[in-house]
């Protein structure tokens, strides 16, 4: 049992923080949000040089063999800095899925490209008719057909909430290739060139101001060689991608959450009303302690989930717990901060809380929110086994508890023993 980071991870954390403090100040975050691309290509190149894009790939593809924990450390710092970039889409949802399910040639092509900063990927999963609540993440919500024709597949339909589609080189697209049997058994993943004829990408206006898109496919032709994983076998790698991505979002929420706690407590100590810092009020202290408790718990469950993924241990329970908790705890944490900041937390010109708060919406919802991941927790509970104690029954408790409360004796020295 060990909650600490290794010294290398600690160093990665410190360096990432220093880098992002310099390269990603508040005005940069605001500037990128105003634009359409959601990232700065020069900065993407810089982090490629730092190894942040290829780190979790094996060395033969330009990586360092880093673990999920290492990536989570990075995402925590990126969450704290509100770093706008297609890292989650490209490296985690794209790259690690290709690493798991790709052919040797696909791995060589895509992973090396990602590591060099030459390729951006976007995951296209959700669809307009099927994005309601937790059902958005069920296999039957994937209906976009991919129909075989010659040596290719034709895709027609619409994907929604596709992060970073407008800047992507490739869309990792979840399609339906069979309607028979279990819905999870008819899903196929394709790597679709984003500039293929027939693709129309439109930016959505979201709470977070991030660059999610509607992507319309009109008879888009994809070569069979761009299938990722086996035909009809796309669900398993997609779910793993969802788990990994969900843990990265949790890590972002941990980083953002700790920053929000820090600024909220600082404000409570310095903002004066009625001749005293507002932090003297127990109601204000209550908001701060609730914030601290929500965010503290996020760290524990996220670390555990990241560790289990890193160790390739079964992790369905731990990942579900982490994202279910973080999604809702972080929402409550932001609310607590808003209570304390009041007016200063709502205006958009100064102050950083609205930025964190709006971004929390994506972090809460993307790749599954509380209600969704609790359905996955419940599935784990379906498999729990209960072990009764197996000593011989003594019949001591049934009678004892239901007796009338007796007139218990008063005890004096005569009644008590000595040692």
């Amino acid at each position: 049992m060990d909650f600490s980071l290794s010294s290398e991870q600690d160093m990665l954390k410190k360096e990432a923080r220093k880098f992002l403090e310099k390269e990603c100040p508040e005005h940069f975050v605001r500037e990128i949000e105003k634009g359409d691309r959601g990232y700065a290509p020069e900065l993407w190149r810089k982090i490629a040089e730092l190894g942040w894009l290829g780190m979790a790939f094996p060395e033969e593809y330009g990586g360092l063999g880093s673990t999920i924990i290492d990536l989570a450390v990075l995402h925590e710092e990126m969450g704290k800095a509100m770093f706008p970039s297609p890292h989650l889409s490209t490296v985690v949802l794209g790259g690690l899925t290709i690493l798991e399910a790709g052919t040797e040639e696909q791995k060589r092509t895509y992973l090396t490209g990602i590591a060099e900063g030459a390729l951006i990927l976007a995951l296209a999963w959700n669809e307009p008719e099927a994005s309601w609540g937790s059902k958005a993440w069920e296999p039957r919500g994937i209906t976009l057909p991919a129909v075989a024709e010659g040596g290719d597949y034709l895709i027609s339909g619409t994907k929604l909430f596709v992060h970073d589609a407008a800047i992507a080189d490739y869309l990792l697209c979840a399609t339906r290739t069979s309607r028979e049997g279990n819905p999870a058994e008819g899903i196929t993943l394709f790597l679709v060139a984003a500039k293929s004829p027939g693709i129309t990408t439109t930016l959505l206006r979201t709470t977070a101001g991030d660059k999610q898109c509607e992507v319309v496919f009109d008879k888009v032709r994809v070569p069979a060689g761009n299938m990722l994983g086996p035909l009809h076998g796309g669900w398993a790698p997609l779910f793993r991608a969802q788990q990994r991505g969900a843990v990265m979002l949790c890590a972002q929420m941990v980083g953002a959450g700790e920053e929000i706690l820090k600024i909220t407590v600082e404000y409570a100590k310095t903002r004066v009303q009625f001749d005293a810092p507002i932090g003297i009020n127990q109601y204000v202290q209550e908001h701060c302690t609730e914030l601290a408790a929500y965010v503290g718990g996020c760290r524990y469950v996220t670390s555990q989930a990241a560790w289990r993924l890193s160790e390739n241990l079964p992790c369905d329970f731990e990942v579900a717990v982490a994202k279910a908790w973080c999604s809702e705890a972080f929402e409550m944490a932001c609310l607590c901060a808003h209570q304390v900041f009041a007016g200063y937390g709502y205006t958009s010109k100064d102050g950083v809380l609205p930025l964190y708060s709006r971004r929390s919406k994506t972090q809460q919802l993307y790749l599954g929110d509380g209600p969704f991941w609790r359905t996955k927790v419940a599935e784990v509970l379906d498999g729990w086994k209960f072990e009764r104690t197996f000593g011989k029954p003594l019949g001591l408790w049934k009678g004892a508890v239901e007796k009338e409360i007796p007139a218990w004796k008063v005890w004096g020295p005569k009644d008590l023993g000595e040692v």
């Binding site: 202290q285 524990y300 104690t389 029954p393």
Partner: protein, 410 residues
Amino acid sequence: MDFGFTAEQKKLREKIHEFFMTELPEDYEPGTENMGEEVQAFFLALKDKAVQRGFYVPGWPKEYGGSGFSEIDQGILDEEMGYAGVVWPDFLGLHLVGPTLMMIGTDEQKRRFIPPIARGETICFEAFTEPEAGSDEANVQLKAVDDGNSFVLSGQKVFISGFFKPNWLFTLARTAQTVPKHRGLSLFLIPADLPGITFRPLPTMGGGRQNEIYFDEVRVSKEYLLGQLNRGFYHAMQVFEFERRMTGAASRGRRQLEELVDFCKKTLYDGEPLMADPQIRDNLARLAVACELQRLAGWYSTWLFAERGKAALMPAYDLSNYYAKKWAAPQAQTMADTVGLYAQLGVASKYAPLAGRLDRMWKFTRSMHAGGTFEVIKIVLAQRGLGLPRIPAPIMKEIGEAIKKDGKAA
């Protein structure tokens, strides 16, 4: 980072787990506040077995009967005991009196008092609370007047838990009247059967026994003074900070949940198991998430303690206590909601699900103030953990007096 256990730790856990699973009868009911003579006898016998097996005080120094358990090992033991639903009759001796003696006892006191605790021969009561001294511990009024070779104690304690008859009383008394109130208190460990001590029963909502303790000119030999005269308040605060292992509380909740889940799978409504109901699934999942958080929070405290020792343990950031006190009642309520009307039935009713445990659990969660109210935990987190400002004691006193005078703060 490692959320697993070593092979030795796993083996240890298996050994302890097997002990409790085997020794506890099939019809064991954990958390029963009302304990008849036979139930008490059962726990005392189980305790003797644990003493024999070395599971009683394994974390204590070897010279006091310990067997070299690390903090993590101790956390595993606590976790398995919580899972089994066992609380030792003398848990106050184990977790409060023993550690206090080790910290501030004289050599003679250690030699005399620690071995009987380790052998399971003691039942210690913690007698701190008084009618006017609850959260405000420093307001203790129990007088201890210096009379040469002894102190003479007069006064009263209240809400002192304990079904088992005690043989030792661990208490805080006022040995100096003229100084700031927290600087005039001293700790005592006294035999419970001294002439002049009376225990009057206070039945609790859950059917348990608490006590009023009356001290009528009780002559206490000075050998029973613990630590320094008039430093008792500080000694007590220090000891409370050590007793932070919460792995047991979390696992108790986990076991209750496992049993409830099992119940929902087996219980049918209109031919379908309760477990098929989406609302129940979401409730149970919420409970499972909370359980896992509590488990990890308990282990975080335990690990921090193991890693950096007592001095570095920041009591303010112990979220395990925070979660436990905050969620105990909502969790009991959610569990009760799962069975609805049946939650009001106690164990003797043939209709009571889970042996009436949900009724007991609900009642018990009306007593989460024990060992420190949730409000105090929040205040400590806010002021010591986060550094938020506090009203200094003299100003609080002024405010209190102004309110008494004309019903409002100055």
